[in-house]
Assembly symmetry: C2
Homo-oligomer: 362 residues x 2
């Protein structure tokens, strides 16, 4: 078991990483004095697999609880769902101190954090991430969100959880595509901040990552520690530090949007986005071709895509790219790399360069 | 003109109070570097009276702007209205730095602040309060909110404005009932924190308050300074300090709810709530009867109610009282006074005492 502290003054909290943590969830949470009434947001498949276990762990510590199942889909990340949940919590409430447990992947985490941040001007919430993607990334750092038809994550808050319980044994039941999407973010952390993690991934990428609990614990802890440091330095994403977490996401998000959030999942799109950022880094002379090749080899070995599917029109990617909410002022802004673990922010990359880079990746 | 600073580290801001500030709104806002695109939330009657003036003041300073008119009703303080506004802002946005101006009373201020706090994880907003109630109270301190059918202000955030521009000359067009509802909160500030303000109100309460700009500027500045200090000491209402602002609101809110938000407006209900809190203070021996009488005389002189209308069943007030979101743990919690400017928090006042006190005020 590893414990990583996120130091944010009165908003500080621990990320606990280990195998079999779910059984001790009640004890971890009881120590935080969040109240006795736990409102657990999850989906049917997680509930079927682990609902009884969590329920048992919480009841044994005296918690009163209610499970709320939401549809397992990005569509659940809406103001409409948030509204329905809030009305349901108001019924469960009875003037008690209610807190929320986000028990799921990124959709459940983002939505639950948002609801927690606006109900009664903020109630406590706990993250129990069940996917690799959520354990290494979305459950940490307090970015909450729901989507609008006008854009993903357009509504949200910065609101930190009170603890993150990352039980790596929950990852055993993920299918290989879900593991891969998480590994795309792991590669991201390695490339922006952690040469040792990169080496480790290279050595271990040829199979076996999924079944090995120790290995997953190592990876999750390493990524969580990086994210914690970045969030500590730039909690509200105003200082240009947190932006490095966006490596691969600038065009990744655009590819995800252009595929109508169907063709590629988040990690697959980010893998392509990272490769495109590497291509641009190489074009600008920031890295040597052999390094780009080495990274592409790792991404390929993990089983993530390295070419953009022909059916996605490049013009649609470009359009989606210019709607990104993160550009205010500059026309675009890329996180590029100058070597493994070294980033550089570059603004206003000419459209022609982006177009050529995209075309070369099809 | 008076300037009061609210000291909240990186969230600090000024409250500017004076006559004719609206004409300089552009200059005040320009200095804050909030962006060039102003989204102004207001209602039709304020827009008819002052829309052109604000528009002129902002355009003269180079702002691009859009007015959004919402219905002049508590019903506008809903998640539905918030959602509609957010979708409208997303259209106005075009990847620019958009900020919001709340141009109205408490409903507009609470709703606008909430929208600003959740759009793109928080954009800047400015308060230009147009009622006495908003200038002395709701525009300051960052409590944003919308209502649910399950309860008022059940959804919201703590999110500070970037400046509050309180132009007391806007108060000239308020009707006398709106002035009175604001004065109820002014009396509250005097009772909890400011003996001099109380004396001043006593001397001036027999007419003339409305038309006199200097007098209103004095009152607004005095109240704003008190609120600023309380908010600085307990921004998120977790330390039991901000609670004193709730003097008169415990039963006041219940009376407002029991009247279906029709019979009494906020200030009228708070006036009754303060009198009930004084009655309880007297019953508990915290104040002498003649002080309670003196305060009642002031409230009566202002033209606020001192008796609960017969048509409101006391049982409904009691029921609403126990649904108050602020009690977690204790059965109830009252701010009482021990003298003008001195408060005392008392929990778990027996139901029989509350019932008798209510019955004596009908």
């Amino acid at each position: 078991m590893k414990v990583i502290k996120v130091n944010l003054k009165e908003r500080s909290y621990n990320i606990v990483i280990g195998s079999g943590l779910l059984q001790s969830a009640g004890r971890f949470i009881r120590g935080l004095n969040l109240g006795r009434a736990a409102y657990i947001i999850t989906n049917a498949s997680i509930y079927a697999k682990y609902g009884r276990q969590l329920s048992h762990a919480l009841k044994a510590c005296g918690f009163d609880l209610k499970f709320k199942l939401i549809a397992d889909s990005e569509k659940s990340k809406s103001l409409k769902t948030a509204y329905a949940i809030i009305k349901d919590i108001a019924l469960f409430d009875h003037n008690r101190r209610v807190f929320i447990i986000a028990f799921g992947g990124g959709v459940i985490g983002d939505l639950s954090g948002f609801v927690a941040s606006i109900y009664k001007r903020g109630i406590a919430y706990v993250q129990i991430p069940t996917t690799l993607l959520a354990q290494v990334d979305s459950a940490i750092g307090g970015k909450t969100a729901v989507d609008l038809t006008e854009g993903k994550n357009l509504v949200g808050t910065f609101y930190q959880p009170r603890i993150v319980l990352s039980d790596v044994s929950l990852l055993k039941t993920l299918d290989s595509r879900q593991i891969k999407t998480g590994l795309a973010e792991v590669v991201k952390y390695a490339l922006i901040k952690d040469r040792k993690l990169f080496d480790y991934l290279e050595i271990n990428s040829r199979g076996g990552l999924k079944s090995n609990g120790k290995l997953l614990e190592f990876i999750v802890a390493r990524c969580a520690a990086i994210k914690a440091k970045v969030v500590e330095a730039d909690e509200k994403d105003t200082k240009g530090i947190r932006m490095i977490l966006n490596f691969g996401h600038t065009l990744g998000h655009a590819i995800e949007a252009a595929s109508g959030y169907k063709g590629y999942n988040h990690g697959e799109a980010v893998a392509l986005g990272m490769l495109l950022a590497l291509d641009i880094s190489e074009k600008l002379g920031l890295i040597k071709p052999h390094l780009a090749e080495r990274i592409e080899l790792l991404i390929r070995a993990i089983g993530l895509p390295v070419k953009i599917a022909k059916k996605i029109p490049l013009s649609r990617i470009i359009r989606a790219h210019y709607r990104d909410k993160k550009f205010s002022g500059a026309r675009n802004r890329f996180v590029l790399i100058m070597g493994i673990g070294k980033t550089k922010i570059v603004e206003n990359i000419p459209l022609q360069v982006i177009k050529k880079t995209l075309a070369a990746r099809t």
